[in-house]
């Protein structure tokens, strides 16, 4: 069995998940990255999308991240810092898809305000995370 390391997923207003995992896969702005135990210290900006955590007991779970960071400390502790992070289990896919369609329409109509952009990234991350529930 693969060695485990501690993982912490934090949103701006709460801790989303904390525990030990054997693998974390996330999409950074420069591409996919996989973290195993004893990874070198690292910090990378995340793209809106899903992060996948393989929990110690073999269960896999998805987290929706709308931006933020992935950081690995000296000791290999991994932290996902994402203001609007959410577990895929907490997301209603139908609702997220509806949001996404709405926001996409608003964007096509020329609304590029911060609010819309933020909702777009959130909805995108939610759909990506929830679409494939592992």
């Amino acid at each position: 069995m693969a060695e485990s390391f501690s993982v912490d997923v934090v949103a701006a207003d709460r801790r989303v998940w904390q525990g030990r995992a054997t693998q974390v896969v996330a999409t950074t702005v420069t591409g996919e990255i996989g973290i195993l135990a004893h990874h070198i210290p690292l910090i990378a900006a995340l793209a809106p999308g899903r992060a996948e955590i393989t929990v110690e007991d073999g269960r896999r779970m998805a987290v929706a991240v709308a931006g933020g960071f992935l950081s690995v400390s000296e000791g290999g502790e991994t932290t996902i810092i994402s203001p609007y992070a959410q577990l895929a289990d907490e997301i209603s896919l139908a609702q997220a898809e509806r949001d996404l369609r709405q926001v996409q329409k608003a964007r096509e109509d020329g609304d590029l305000s911060l609010e819309t952009e933020r909702r777009y990234h959130r909805a995108l991350a939610q759909v990506r995370a929830a679409a494939r529930k592992v």
Binding site: A12, R14, R15, A45, G67, F69, S71, I81
Partner: protein, 312 residues
């Protein structure tokens, strides 16, 4: 006799009704403080993780970022005032507004123009009434701020900070808010938001991230690694500013609720005092009414018996 018995009883009833309201408000405020404190507690892991990341990245020598640049003589300063949406919270909002006036005078002395950003209906009304121009204002979340609210405010403020002075941008941003020290003590204070001064929460490790104008000019960051670091720093710092504002908003909310609870407790106590006074006065009035009636009856009976004796 000062007031009739009926009047006194009427007032007693009305004070009792008011007391019920203030007591309810006191209890509501108390339960919401607990919630506000819990929210602040739940935001801590994020704050810690983010601060650690900022410190790690800033630890690399030679990082430079516009949000860290300090203007030697700020020509225009923005002030963000955090007050409450609703009244009935004692001196909470007026303390904040007084502190803000103090800061304005300070800025005037330094010959810095000012730009006003206001949060909370009470403060918005105050400045509107005095026809002070506001660059932007927000209402409706002073006692339950969410991260999304902070996000919005931060976006506006950072844009103002990064805009050149000539286009109406500001050189520094100050924030007037109330720090929640304890249920009994809240402290109104001024903090500089931008340029950033990165301080570890709890004061364990303090990271000075302030650069002078001059020191920046020789910063030579050309290769790809530095570019990547810059992009990362850009994201990190913008999250950092958002989180700071979220933190200030949460502190302000807890302070507002504590202030409201205290004000409502004082009102309830006052009402209790009033009720006791009114009850005493009513009893006195009732007693003197009875005394008077007895005197009248006794007097009347005596007069009657005197008449009777004389007729016999």
């Amino acid at each position: 006799m000062a007031a009739s018995l009926r009047e006194l009883r009427e007032r007693n009833r009305s004070v009792r009704a008011t007391q019920k309201i203030t007591r309810a408000m006191e209890l509501i405020a108390a339960s919401r403080i607990t919630k506000a404190q819990q929210a602040a507690q739940e935001a801590l892991p994020y704050t810690r993780a983010l601060n650690r990341a900022v410190r790690d990245v800033l630890g690399h020598a030679g990082v430079y970022h516009p949000l860290l640049i300090k203007a030697p003589h700020p020509r225009r300063s923005a002030v963000l005032v955090l007050a409450s949406d609703r009244g009935l919270s004692g001196a909470y909002s007026s303390n904040v507004l007084r502190k803000a006036e103090e800061l304005f005078r300070n800025l005037d002395d330094k010959h810095s123009e000012r730009q006003l950003y206001v949060c909370g209906r009470k403060a918005v009304d105050y400045y509107k009434y005095r026809s002070r121009p506001m660059a932007d204002h927000w209402e409706g979340f002073s006692d339950h701020p969410s991260y999304a609210d902070a996000d919005l405010i931060a976006h506006v403020l950072m844009e103002a900070f990064l805009r050149p002075y000539e286009d109406g941008g500001v050189d520094e941003i100050n924030i007037v808010h109330t720090r929640f020290v304890s249920m009994l003590a809240q402290e109104t204070r001024v903090r500089r938001l931008l340029p950033l001064e990165v301080v570890e929460a709890g004061g364990a490790g303090r990271v000075e991230a302030l650069y002078d104008f001059e020191a920046d000019t020789d910063g030579t960051a050309d290769d790809a690694a530095d570019d990547a670091a810059y992009g990362l720093l850009d994201e990190l710092l913008s999250l950092y500013v958002r989180n700071r504002i979220h933190f200030y908003l949460m502190q302000a909310a807890a302070s507002e609720l504590a202030s409201k609870q205290r004000a409502m407790k004082a009102a309830t106590d006052n009402a209790q005092q009033l009720i006791e006074d009114l009850t005493r006065q009513a009893n006195q009035a009732r007693q003197s009414q009875i005394t008077q009636e007895i005197t009248e009856i006794v007097g009347g009976a005596q007069a009657l018996s005197e008449v009777k004796t004389r007729m016999e």
